[in-house]
């Protein structure tokens, strides 16, 4: 890198950047570490574990749906209360669905997107030595882990685990007399309250860090989209999660100390739970997709070797989605007995939210247009994201239309939608993000061939699993039913369920390739260079993996992160910190740096 200033000389008052020697004891370095990078990796390990758990639960669900009432191979190990003789019980099925949704949403995708990439990328990409509050950051991780354990513990308590769906509609969720579930639901509530606290602590940290700790020259207009998305997402987390916490606390009190918030018998309102849940829940689904949008924006620009198309509109769209996300929650409740006029308003606002999303999709395409596209594994997954997320987004329009939703509400059409946006969307973006930043995180490359095999097989089998679910939904197949063959009109559709089940088993097996690649590369991967993808952002200017404290001295930023194929330089990339002759120094310069330049 050709910089004009000898950086090592420039020490800034109050700045202790990268530590030349790292003499922290083992436990402070790897377990109770306050280093954002270590915490990010810890979140990664934790949430991949829960992704696996969620995936295993899905396999059991699929077995039951494909072959209702038949003993599951290997199911004999499960206790009598779950699957006597390997045959899944209806009560257990409901717990499976509930916990599959809960683990995937709260313990896999959300910590993967926000916990992992928020922690790992924010300080590096904005040029900060660490988070604003490193110890709070550590506290956030070590609050999330026990919450996860508590959630798992629910499988082993008296009665069943929570089994009212991940949406926990009252009064079913709070009435042991109707659900047969007591302790499981209590643990579910406690776990969500605790993990919510962890998320809030994280969000406070991210927001403060992004506002206050951007390196000189890293103006709002030069922030990478990942950081913009994480910033907006953190605001959503900060303001939405407490609503969930409040609602869950009321649910818990209803169940344990006899309050009657949602109990009609005591004058309460079941609908109130739904309003509170979805007032949180819809912002939540954007929490689950906005960081993915950010990751994909960065990866597509890198892969296309071209500046991101319409950066300002991308930022504006992100903010618009976040705003609109607060006024659409009623679209989950069109059939709940909600006031129909209110339904119409929610439909219109929901329709409008498609517009900023459309802007994003077309801007990604615009970025690829006239590019010079490198199909590295992250890029493949990012393109997979675009093509699959669109299907999920467009199916959202069917449900947004109130009359059509009358028919498809609570059918597999919804299940198809949510997997297209969550798997086709968030998870593909995560595959893109993990493969993209893996070299930086672990200092090793992942195997590209395995990566490509994993991508293509996932892409194909994933569609085989979830695309036919649209057909099931149009056929009227309700969700959360233990045995679809009970209904005559669903029997002709059962072969689709069988097909989906076989495909799902293959899909799961294919994910093991990823797990293998992930673990094996950690130990044996080729050594990663500092900047394997020839990217412009700040994290690629430091070693892989970066030292504790990140940057040796304050990095100075001269341009946005997407200057690919700029005519100003020979290479097709132009790092943000590289000073070209015509570049102005940032307005704000730390005293040390200013004196020298």
């Amino acid at each position: 890198m050709a910089t004009t200033v000898p950086r090592e000389e420039l020490l800034v008052e109050g700045y202790t950047g990268a530590h030349p020697v790292d003499d922290r004891p083992f436990i402070r370095k790897y377990i109770f570490s306050t280093d954002h990078k270590v915490i990010g990796i810890q979140f990664l390990v934790m949430s991949l574990f829960f992704l696996l758990v969620g995936g295993v639960l899905a396999m059991v669900i699929r077995w039951q749906l494909g072959f209702p009432g038949r003993p599951m191979p290997g199911g004999g190990v499960l206790p009598e209360t779950m699957a006597p003789g390997g045959i899944v019980l209806p009560e257990f099925y409901n717990s499976l669905v509930t916990m599959h949704g809960t683990f995937m949403v709260f313990f896999a995708i959300m910590p993967l997107l926000v916990g992992v990439f928020g922690n790992y990328l924010i300080p590096l990409k904005i040029g900060a030595p660490d988070m604003a509050f490193p110890r709070l950051n550590m506290a956030s991780l070590w609050t999330a882990v026990p919450a996860g354990l508590l959630m798992i513990a629910g499988f082993f308590v008296e009665g069943h685990h929570a089994s009212a769906g991940w949406t926990a509609y009252a009064p079913l969720s709070e009435s042991p007399e109707y659900s047969g579930v007591s302790n499981g639901q209590v643990l579910w509530c406690l776990s969500l309250i605790i993990v919510g606290l962890a998320s809030i602590l994280g969000a406070v940290n991210y927001i403060t860090t992004i506002i206050n700790m951007r390196a000189p020259g890293m103006t709002w207009g030069r922030l990478p989209m990942t950081i913009w998305s994480l910033f907006v997402t953190s605001i959503l987390v900060l303001l939405a999660i407490p609503i969930l916490s409040g609602a869950v606390i009321m649910l818990l009190f209803d169940q344990t100390i006899g309050t009657t918030f949602f109990k009609p018998a005591g004058g309460g309102q079941p609908i109130l739970w739904q309003h509170l849940f979805w007032f949180f829940g819809h912002p939540e689904v954007y929490i689950l997709i906005l960081p993915a949008f950010g990751i994909v924006s960065d990866v597509i620009a890198n892969g296309s070797r071209k500046p991101l198309f319409g950066y300002k509109m991308m930022v504006a769209a992100t903010v618009a989605i976040a705003f609109l996300g607060w006024i659409v929650w009623g679209h989950h409740m069109f059939q709940s007995g909600m006031n129909p006029t209110l339904g119409t308003s929610f439909m219109l606002s929901t329709m409008l939210i498609a517009v900023p999303t459309a802007v994003k999709v077309f801007n990604w395409l615009g970025t690829m247009w006239l590019g010079n596209i490198r199909f590295h594994v992250p890029m493949l997954n990012a393109m997979g994201f675009v093509s699959m997320f669109v299907i999920g987004g467009l199916s959202g329009l069917f449900m947004a239309s109130t009359p059509v939703d009358i028919y498809i509400h609570d059918t597999y059409f919804i299940v198809a939608h949510l997997h297209y946006v969550l798997f086709g969307g968030s998870l593909f973006a995560l595959f893109a993000g993990i493969t993209f930043w893996y070299p930086k995180m672990f200092g090793r490359m992942m195997n590209a061939t395995l990566g490509k095999i994993h991508f293509w097989l996932t892409f194909i089998t994933y569609n085989m699993v979830f695309f036919p679910m649209h057909a099931l939904g149009i056929g009227g197949h309700m969700r959360r039913i233990y045995d679809p063959t009970q209904y005559e009109f669903l029997q002709p559709l059962q072969w689709i369920n069988v097909f989906i089940t076989y495909s799902a088993f293959i899909l799961f097996a294919v994910q093991l390739i990823f797990a293998y690649n992930f673990i094996a590369s950690w130990f044996n991967g080729a050594k990663a260079p500092d900047n394997p993808w020839e990217d412009n952002a700040l994290e690629w200017t430091v070693a892989s993996p970066p030292p504790h404290g990140n940057f040796r001295t304050v990095p100075v930023v001269y341009r946005g992160p997407y200057e690919y194929s700029s005519p100003e330089v020979q290479e097709d990339f132009l790092p943000q910190t590289r000073k070209l002759p015509g570049d102005r120094e940032p307005d704000v310069m730390p005293p040390g740096l200013r004196a020298e330049t």
């Binding site: 009435s175 109707y178 018998a265 950066y311 059939q335 109130t402 028919y407 009109f489």
Partner: protein, 225 residues
């Protein structure tokens, strides 16, 4: 398997299905545009030695187009949907000549209350059937939905009817069946371990048939009380 709606058997079905197909076509076109562009760009602009990407940060005109067109499209879908929605959830309630029926959902069955000869619900000659709903063809039916324990959802796929039954609430919906026959009634809201088997049958009779059926089980119901 496919994208074709199953055959409908109520007055709503036509409107809802038309709307569904309209959205299917619109989203189908949008999907095609995106996927074709994605694949085409991937092929056309793949990396080749010596090539360099076009250096541009965007194009205002393009942005305006792809903001405006989707806006118009979704607002149109919204307006059309609002009209159908308004017809279904009419401000003035079910048509005046609708036959009143009470449906009480509970774990895991549907109890239907019919007005007796007086045509009034809540009088002494009401009678109840379990997991069965009998209605005449081409007559609006006004259903008062209630739930005893938890939330259930009254779902008759062939009629395109779905409405949650919420404990503590009295929700009125209406529909008009257009074809005699037997249809399945399902529960669409998770309501406990028996949710999957909370099934009922809806029988749509010709008017004469219906009158005959109405005359017959009444005595039995009275002894049941």
């Amino acid at each position: 398997m496919g994208w074709i709606m199953p055959e409908g058997a109520s007055t709503y079905a036509g409107d809802i299905d038309r709307l569904y197909y309209l959205i299917l076509v619109i989203t189908g076109v949008a999907l095609l545009i995106v996927e074709v562009a994605l694949v085409a760009f991937a092929i056309k602009y793949r990396e080749r030695p010596g090539r360099r990407a076009h250096y541009t940060h965007g194009n205002m005109k393009a942005e305006v187009v792809w903001t405006a067109v989707p806006t118009v499209v979704v607002v149109m879908i919204g307006v059309l949907s609002a009209r159908v929605w308004g017809d279904i959830h009419r401000r003035e309630g079910p048509p005046a000549d609708a036959i009143p029926v009470g449906v009480m959902a509970k774990q895991f069955e549907w109890n239907t209350t019919y007005a007796g000869p007086d045509g009034q619900l809540g009088s002494a000659d009401d009678f109840v059937t379990r997991n069965e709903l009998h209605v005449p063809v081409n007559r609006p039916i006004s259903v008062m939905l209630e739930a005893e324990d938890v939330i259930h959802s009254f779902f008759i796929p062939a009629f395109r009817v779905k409405q949650d039954a919420v404990p503590g609430m009295h929700i009125r919906i209406w529909f008009e069946a257009t074809k005699p026959g037997t249809y399945e009634l399902g529960c669409a809201e998770l309501c406990g371990l028996g949710h999957y088997r909370m099934r009922g049958l809806v029988t749509v009779h010709e008017q004469a048939d219906y009158d005959r059926w109405l005359a017959q089980p009444r005595a039995a119901a009275e002894t049941n009380r």
